[in-house]
């Protein structure tokens, strides 16, 4: 239940701070990454963990430009994703394959 709640709540933006709140390389330096960058990383995680995992619908398929276009244009392929999972996935696919 807890895992499901986390998945529902937090996916449209993926932890822009992550490592970047670190004092990078041991110095006093707070960084930060853009929301688009965060969405891109989350989109990768959504694809890998929700669509391409061994028990997922796209297991074993190679993600290329053609498959990315299908994922963006065919809602049935992403029907099991939550709304806040589709946005980062779309950001990832569009940026990765320049769609």
């Amino acid at each position: 239940m807890t895992l499901r709640l986390i998945g529902k709540v937090g996916l449209a933006i993926a932890l822009p701070l992550l490592a970047s709140t670190a004092f990078a390389s041991g110095s006093d330096s707070f960084g930060g990454q853009s929301s688009e960058q965060a969405q891109y990383n989350t989109g990768k995680a959504v694809y890998a963990q929700k669509l391409a995992c061994p028990s997922c619908p796209l297991a074993g398929k190679t993600l290329d430009k053609m498959l990315a276009e299908q994922l963006l244009s065919d809602p049935s392929l992403t029907a099991k994703l939550a709304n806040d999972e589709r946005a980062p996935l779309a950001t990832y696919l569009r940026k990765r394959f320049k769609l």
Partner: protein, 271 residues
């Protein structure tokens, strides 16, 4: 008073800048620009391992400008410039601090090998700034050099991550080399808000303490500077390509180091 000012040279929290230490690289073909301000202040310090009070608070404000370029899916470069305004009692200085130029190479992608974390190698060049050393309001140690580190991260779920870094830094001018480690946990609590918490440590390879055997004021950059820092942060997506990042950190223990509070705010945008 003179003794206190001398101590401040070593306690001025050297602002060796570094770009973001994330194992996850920028979007291929994109540029990310960040501007930030970090306020650090403290009135306690550890001389060697003995905790003492300063006669006045040391305050430093660091303005930073960073640029990252994602060259490919596996390779990125970055740089960061800093300007530091330092105050301690009646003494003050404002100058360009150290600049870093770095490259990251992702050698393992967790999204291609589900059972592994993402592993990225990093190399950084450090170019010393134009600040003065050997004076009370010195901004840093004044050395140039390089850093090597390994960054590891894993998306445990799309909204929950853990990552860390282990690195080694070496600079010229007799500044002791040091190792650092860093670990962070991040969690997206809302579609536009995420939180992080972490811990970082630095361990110098030197053996010279402030006021210890062999110490002279001219050797401040050679002193051993260890630090343990806890930190929390929040990030808010202000626009589709821009976020506002708020951070707080505290130096909880150290050696020849100020026990500082650190407040940071930054804007990061990608194009």
């Amino acid at each position: 008073m003179k003794k206190t000012l001398i101590v401040a040279i070593a306690l001025a929290m050297p602002a060796v800048a570094a770009a973001d230490g994330s194992p996850w690289l920028p979007i291929p073909g994109s540029a990310q620009v960040s501007i930030g301000y970090l306020q650090s202040s403290g009135d306690e310090y550890d001389a060697g391992t003995t905790r003492k009070m300063l006669s006045a608070k040391i305050e430093q404000g660091t303005f930073s400008l960073g640029l990252q370029l994602g060259l490919t899916d596996q390779f990125a470069i970055d740089t960061r410039f800093n300007y530091v305004d330092s105050k301690f009692g009646m003494a003050s200085e404002g100058a360009l601090s150290d600049t870093t130029i770095g490259a990251r190479w992702r050698v393992v992608d967790e999204f291609e090998h589900n059972s592994t974390p993402t592993v990225t190698l990093r190399a950084n060049a450090i170019l010393n700034g134009n600040y003065d050393t050997g004076r009370a309001d010195a901004i840093g140690d004044g050395g140039s050099g390089g850093e090597l580190s390994v960054l590891v991260g894993k998306y445990l779920m799309p909204a929950l991550t853990v990552n860390g870094e282990l690195g080694y830094r070496n600079r010229n001018k007799m500044i002791p080399s040091d190792f650092w480690g860093d670990i962070n946990v991040g969690y997206a609590v809302h579609s536009r808000v995420s939180l992080t918490a972490g811990y970082s440590m630095t361990r110098s390879q030197g053996d010279l303490d402030i006021g210890g055997p062999g110490f002279t004021p001219s050797r401040f950059p050679e002193t051993t500077e260890d630090r343990d820092v806890i930190k929390v942060g929040a990030s808010i997506a202000a626009m589709s390509n821009m976020s506002v990042n708020l951070n707080y950190g505290k130096v909880v223990s150290g050696r020849n180091s100020t026990l500082a509070d650190l407040f940071g705010v930054s804007l990061a945008a990608s194009f």
